[in-house]
């Protein structure tokens, strides 16, 4: 029998801990597919965050460390400066990157660190039970926004990728999603793009992936995908936000 689809070489044969319908599994696989395509499994060092993706090293077959919550870009900075010829990337959630690690991501970008960032935005703290994230939409119900998120009490959804666009050290920013095969392929292309940018030593780049969290959105996986298409994209529009990489 001819094998048409198989697990990427750089992906471990392991059962994932992610909930049904979670986007992390798709995005993990895309990272591995790109690493296989670029044949850089042996020269990649990844930094996992604190959050649902903390166990990424259980699924990735390349060197991976794990940073304290939000310190992910600082750890990646240390690794990349010591090993400038390796591909170094961080994989962070919205709590890690847009709340507790705001200073670290902004300043890694501002230094123009030659690293790649995969920012998975599902608008909620999944690992701790579904609390409000900085990216939670107004009106969204979470564990810590009973009823819904109110601007008067909880502030507004943060658009950190747009904020990063003003930094000269940041050369590429794109927002994608994983709601359909077409969007999944666009996400893969974007991951490939930011890895290419790093390998060409062009500077800091980031892809924000809008991802579903059926468990803490209280929806089915299909409903969650529809919510991204109908509601989340309105707040966080898809597309290339910045491209000064000249590639």
């Amino acid at each position: 029998m001819k094998k048409i689809v198989t697990r990427p070489d750089s992906m471990k044969d392991a059962d994932m801990h992610y909930c049904a319908g979670c986007g992390h599994g798709i995005i993990h696989r895309l990272v591995c597919e790109v690493i296989d395509e670029l044949k850089i499994k042996e020269t990649t060092v990844a930094v996992a965050p604190v959050g649902c993706a903390v166990l990424a090293y259980d699924y990735w077959g390349f060197d991976t460390t794990e940073a304290a919550h939000g310190r992910t870009p600082s750890v990646a900075t240390g690794i990349k400066r010591v090993l400038p010829d390796r591909l170094v990337f961080t994989y962070q959630g919205d709590g890690d990157l847009a709340a507790i690690g705001t200073a670290e991501i902004i300043h890694a970008g501002n230094r123009g660190e030659n690293i790649s960032v995969i920012f998975v935005n599902n608008g909620v703290y999944g690992m701790t039970g579904g609390q409000m994230a900085p990216t939670t939409l107004l009106g969204q119900s979470t564990m810590t926004t009973p009823g819904h998120r109110k601007a008067s009490r909880d502030g507004f959804p943060i658009k950190i990728t747009e904020m990063m666009a003003v930094l000269p050290g940041v050369v590429y920013l794109e927002r994608t999603t994983v709601t359909s095969p077409k969007e999944v392929m666009k996400t893969k292309k974007a991951i490939r793009k930011i890895f290419d940018i790093q390998l060409a030593k062009k500077g800091f780049s980031m892809v924000e992936v809008l991802s579903p969290c059926p468990t803490y959105w209280g929806m089915s996986p299909i409903e969650s995908m529809k919510r991204i298409e109908n509601e989340v994209i309105k707040e966080y529009p898809l597309g290339i936000i910045k491209d000064t990489a000249a590639m």
């Binding site: 042996e42 090293y57 460390t65 240390g78 690794i79 010591v82």
Partner: protein, 385 residues
């Protein structure tokens, strides 16, 4: 004598280093040069000579000379200097550099070290060799910028969350700022453990002669097969501190492994200097800059015929319990006076060592106050009565 700063430009670039060292070797076997410099600069040069090639820090007084010195020297040797956006980020950059196999250092002063504690706990958990310098200042809070020893508990009892220990070295001179920092990298590598240089504002700022061999090799290193350099020719590996249990290892097993390592460090690395403890009626115990003032006092009192000895711990963790207990047991009448620039922190360890609170006395000042020779002498006379 040269200012240390002046000779920086003659230090060979990293890429030429070996050939130049060879040249120096063939001409002069042991060429020692003498410099005049601050403790902060000596610490920086000690790190450079140890082979430190990554430094990240954040401005805070009274250790700014050290950060500035590293910015110059790292550029000269092709190493990495980063002025981080925060103390928190600096310690995590050092985490990253160490995980990639480099010798890495950060430095700060008390309030900044508090901010670094999260990162230090992760570094200890991941068993990363890192050197952290604390040039202590007055606290609590923002306190002031005067010398202090009030971070003893934080340095020696953990500091961050979880059961862990740093190796804590306590230099007492500009020379020791160099020597201890140089050695700290070897100790960190040997035990895969963070090492703290616990200095204070006086040691950081004061100038004294410093001597070291011009062609001194990097301090002793070890191979680091655990480093994350890319999975070339081996399977992928991970450095992490989240241990949820399962087939590989439980968190309790990891803790037992750490404790076993700490026992080995206690067995092998305790350092203390003793002066005239045999036949002494009173033994002064002090570390760091405080031991220098204490020593002047002890010398003056001995000239007057007083039987006063001195013990100067050089490692604060592991603490020299056995050495102090040995003296206390041999001489049942000897009393101990612990002098610190704090409300009394190391004195608790001396009490644990002596196991007779009636024989352990304390004198200290806080908030940047420094016990003077006269004040210590008065305390000694009070106890002698």
């Amino acid at each position: 004598m040269h200012r240390l700063w002046d000779v920086c430009r003659y230090v060979p670039r990293l890429r030429d280093r070996d050939s130049i060292r060879e040249l120096v070797d063939s001409r002069v076997k042991h060429m020692k040069k003498k410099y005049l410099c601050t403790g902060n600069e000596a610490c920086g040069e000690g790190a450079m000579r140890a082979g430190c090639r990554f430094y990240a820090g954040y401005p805070i007084t009274p250790q700014n000379e050290l950060t500035a010195y590293m910015s110059v020297r790292m550029d000269e040797v092709g190493g990495t200097f980063i002025q981080a956006e925060s103390e928190v980020s600096a310690i995590n950059m050092v985490f990253g550099a160490s995980v990639a196999g480099a010798r890495a250092m950060t430095s700060s002063s008390s309030p900044g070290i508090s901010l670094k504690q999260e990162g230090i706990s992760y570094i200890a958990a991941c068993e990363l060799p890192v050197v952290i310098v604390n040039v202590m200042r007055g606290g609590p809070g923002l306190g002031n910028i005067m010398a202090s020893q009030a971070d003893y508990f934080q340095a020696t009892k953990g500091g961050g969350h979880g059961d862990y220990h740093l190796i804590v070295l306590a230099p007492a001179s500009v020379q020791e700022m160099f020597d201890f920092t140089y050695e700290a990298f070897a100790l960190a590598d040997k035990y895969r453990n963070p090492v703290m240089i616990l200095a204070d504002g006086t040691l950081g700022q004061m100038m004294e002669p410093l001597e070291f061999e011009e062609n001194i090799p990097f301090s002793k290193g070890v191979s680091k097969p655990w480093a994350l350099t890319g999975a070339k020719g081996r399977s992928a590996q991970h450095v992490k501190s989240l241990i949820l249990g399962g087939k590989d290892e439980t968190l309790e097993e990891h803790n037992l492994h750490l404790q076993e390592k700490y026992r080995k460090i206690i067995e092998n690395e305790v350092r203390i200097e003793t002066e005239n403890v045999g036949g002494a009626e009173i033994i002064l115990v002090a570390y760091g800059a405080m031991s220098r003032i204490g020593y002047s006092c002890v010398e003056a009192m001995r000239e007057k015929g007083k039987k006063v000895g001195m013990m100067i711990p050089k490692t604060l963790w592991p603490f020299p319990y056995d050495e102090i207990r040995g003296i206390a047991e041999k001489n049942k009448h000897v009393k101990f006076l612990v002098v610190e620039m704090s409300s009394g922190q190391m004195v608790e360890d001396v009490r644990l060592a002596v196991q007779d609170d009636k024989r352990v006395f304390f004198y200290g000042r806080m908030g940047g106050g420094i016990p003077t020779e006269d004040a210590i002498a008065r305390e000694i006379l009070k106890i002698a009565k």
